[in-house]
């Protein structure tokens, strides 16, 4: 079942020797087999935190790049939130000019090594790809994300990274609140114009969800740290342990501290719970807490880390997104014997990346589909001992066309568990709003902005999850860019 990286590389070598110097017709291109992503053997990886997907070999990248038809209309580009010139960078890979390739990507994206890894490609660029359309299966599209990751990793390994050019100092100061992808991107683009940028981050380490949420085995922290290093080399100051709204109010930044403009990229925060009985029992965690303990506080290094993590045997995770997959896969790595994901709909509706669902299954995580928790049951010490679940079936399609799950009457059943992780999304963190009355937010607490990411307050812009609700890294990055452009224009 599991094919090793060496074997995948050998296969690619064979294919390459046949097609390398040929000019290929579209038919020949579509006949080239899709290159699988080499991955750590599931049996081994459930015992370590290292990255699961290992990245294409050069041979595989060269083969995969030849699957692209170089469509004149490039529908894939439309699917990418930041409109990377996809055929352009893939063509350069085919020509083995990786330097040119990364250059093309960087015209549009600042964080390709990250987006290549975590973008939900199957619902973005790869959803629109002609090759996928031919096979009537977006999973057979050109592997745009994997190729993007390949050139970004190539750049890092060749130590080819250059620091973007910075214009002469303008003497103006801009504050960026939050150091997630939205904040990092805004900071970089504003710094390039010669403005002084200070990034305020509540945590002791910058990077946002990419550091505290997404686990090491999916996004090595070294990659995020490198991005932060680049920012620092661009003269961006990062002030950790600084919570805007408490350490200082937004207004003070503008009125007392001499900032000409502010970008708010504070992310989602505030985990949602389900409001069912037993949710505050010992052993019930939000995915945010569970993942923060493991990732940011390094609780998985049980011998060195001071922060403890709950010792679990039977774990139940509620939710069907990336966050749920990450929590479940973390639990298994921390030594749980049995981990199940409980999701109200079917696999087809799961918002998680397809690759993560597949990886989770390979790692032995059980999927309880069309089920949902109705009650968490505790023992006499207030610790979780079981969960009561109810079964659902798919009913009539709702307004969105999705078939609505309907609860089956009398289907309550009790399943043993000692740990429950709730991963059903976040609400917006109210802290800045509470201390800044003028800032307009919608009923979910998300900051309202115009098409340039400007908020209801002068000189204040916002983007990323705090505006979009739960979104993606690439969308947050795109908004950071848009806001930076508006701020640069304003100053």
């Amino acid at each position: 079942m599991h094919i090793s990286a060496e074997e995948l590389k050998k296969n690619a070598q064979l294919i390459l020797s046949e097609i390398k110097d040929k000019s290929l017709s579209n038919k020949e291109r579509t006949a080239i087999p899709l290159q699988e992503m080499p991955a750590q053997d599931p049996k081994i990886r459930i015992n370590n935190m290292e990255e699961v997907a290992q990245g294409y070999s050069r041979e595989q990248a060269l083969v995969e790049s030849r699957r692209c038809l170089q469509c004149a209309s490039a529908p894939c580009v439309e699917g990418c939130p930041v409109q990377i010139n996809i055929p352009g960078f893939i063509k350069a890979i085919e020509e083995e000019n990786f330097e040119k390739s990364i250059g093309v990507i960087k015209e549009a994206s600042l964080l390709p090594s990250i987006c290549g890894r975590v973008c939900p490609q199957e619902s973005q660029c790869q959803e629109k790809c002609t090759v996928g359309k031919i096979f009537k299966d977006p999973n057979k599209s050109v592997s745009i994300g994997r190729l993007e990751r390949f050139v970004a990793d190539w750049e890092a390994s060749e130590a080819k990274r250059s620091i973007p050019e910075i214009k002469p100092s303008t003497g103006k100061k801009v504050a960026v609140i939050g150091s997630g992808p939205a904040g990092i991107t805004a900071a970089a683009d504003i710094a390039k114009e010669g403005h002084e940028v200070v990034v305020f981050e509540a945590f002791h380490k910058p990077g946002g969800v990419m550091i505290y949420g997404i686990p090491e085995f999916r996004l090595p922290k070294k990659i995020v740290e490198d991005e932060i290093e680049t920012l620092k080399k661009m003269n961006v100051t990062i002030k950790q342990n600084f919570l805007v709204g408490r350490s200082r109010t937004l207004k003070d930044l503008l009125e007392k501290d001499g900032f000409s403009a502010v970008f708010i990229g504070t992310g989602a925060g505030l985990p949602k719970f389900m409001g069912i009985e037993g949710e505050n029992l010992v052993g019930v965690f939000s995915a945010n807490e569970y993942l923060t303990r493991s990732n940011l506080m390094k609780a998985y290094k049980k011998d060195t880390a001071a922060t403890p993590i709950y010792p679990s045997k039977k774990v139940m995770v509620f939710g069907g997104g990336n966050v749920a997959m990450d929590a479940a896969r973390t639990a298994i790595r921390l030594g749980a014997e049995e981990v199940s994901i409980v999701y109200r709909r079917t696999e087809a509706e799961m918002p998680a990346r397809i690759e993560e669902v597949a990886h989770a299954k390979e790692e032995g995580i059980k999927f309880r589909l069309l089920e949902n928790a109705s009650k968490i049951i505790g023992d006499e010490k207030g610790r979780v001992k079981a969960v009561e679940l109810v079964t659902f079936e798919l009913g009539e399609p709702d307004a969105s066309g999705r078939r609505r799950p309907v609860q089956v009457k009398g289907s309550e059943h009790v399943v043993e568990a000692d740990t429950v992780i709730v991963a059903i999304g976040n609400e917006s963190n109210p802290l800045i709003k509470q201390t800044t009355q003028e800032l307009e937010v919608n009923k979910y607490g998300n900051i309202i902005v115009d098409e340039n990411c400007k908020t209801s307050m002068d000189r204040v812009y916002a983007g990323g999850d705090i505006v979009l609700g739960a979104a993606t890294v690439i969308l947050a990055m795109g908004e950071g860019r848009k806001a930076a452009a508006a701020i640069n224009k304003l100053l």
Binding site: A202, P271, S286, E289, M297
Partner: protein, 285 residues
């Protein structure tokens, strides 16, 4: 990095530290706390109340009991050493106004967070009665400081080694029975003490504020680890609190949650104690 300006040992395992933190000193209000971490990679983030602050000097004061891994390690740092990460001020400030007469109840280390609140209430023109409770006379902290604030100071010890041989709830009950009864009670201490203080005042309808010391991770409202049940609703202590209406808090659930990591922490605690003992032996030899 925040430098330790001053360190004092207040009792067997209670320490006071003044730490340089100009920003926090300037912004903080009574009732607020900081989160401190000793090691960026592997350290735990622990919440501690700002017991006092000096905006001019740019310092905040913390008073803590060495109970586990991080507080023990903190107690081994000295003046001039630096604390890697210090975040604050966090939490909602105490609501201070002139209520009339207020009774402030502090148990054990809870006297530390109580001190700035009592001080602010006094400055707002209230008549302030302070009740301090401790297991024995050696565990009483901030007696002098409280004396200068309080209109009346009552001390209780479990063993009678100082003041009354009583639990703090006894004088609290007496005050509630008086006419006029207090307009407000503030109780800070071990959860079990706060629970019984709230139960004591409830029949008299004396509004009682408690300050909850749940386990925290981020302290910014992101993780939900600090959640408690208040009046049947889930609240986050770090952003909605730390102060709540004591008559509405589900203390039993909170105490269970505080014990979530007990097994692991006790193991660490033993290790810390062993370290301390070894150090002591080395010093003596």
């Amino acid at each position: 990095m925040n430098r330790i300006i001053l360190k004092k040992q207040l009792s067997d395992d209670v320490f006071m530290m003044k730490i340089a933190a100009p920003h926090i000193a300037e912004e903080r209000k009574p009732g607020q706390f900081v989160i401190l971490q000793l090691d960026t990679d592997f350290g735990e983030r622990i919440p501690l109340t700002i017991a006092d602050a000096d905006a001019e000097e740019g310092s905040v004061t913390i008073i803590y009991q060495a109970v586990g891994n991080t507080t023990h390690r903190l107690s081994k740092l000295n003046e001039g050493d630096r604390i890697q990460n210090l975040l604050g001020p966090l939490g909602q400030p105490t609501h201070i106004e002139k209520f009339g007469s207020v009774v402030c109840v502090g148990g054990g280390i809870g006297v530390a967070p109580l001190h700035p609140i009592a001080k602010a209430l006094k400055q707002a023109g209230n008549h302030v009665t302070v009740i301090i409770g401790a297991r024995n006379k050696d565990l009483i902290i901030l007696e002098e400081e409280m004396k200068t604030i309080a209109d009346e100071l009552i001390i209780c010890t479990d063993d009678g080694s100082k003041g009354r041989k009583d639990l703090v709830t006894a004088p609290l009950k007496e005050l509630c029975e008086k006419n006029p009864k207090p307009n407000l009670a503030v109780a800070i201490g071990p959860p079990i003490m706060m629970k019984f203080a709230a139960l004591t005042t409830k029949p008299y309808g004396v509004h009682t504020v408690v300050s909850l010391n749940t386990i925290m991770v981020d302290g910014t409202g992101m993780c939900g680890g600090c959640r408690v049940t208040v009046g049947g609703q889930t609240k986050f202590v770090c952003v909605d609190g730390p102060e709540f209406d004591g008559h509405l808090v589900d203390f039993d659930n909170m105490m269970l949650r505080l014990g979530s990591y007990k097994a692991k922490e006790e193991e660490d605690h033993h290790k810390c104690h062993l370290d301390l003992q070894i150090e002591q032996l080395q010093k003596n030899s």
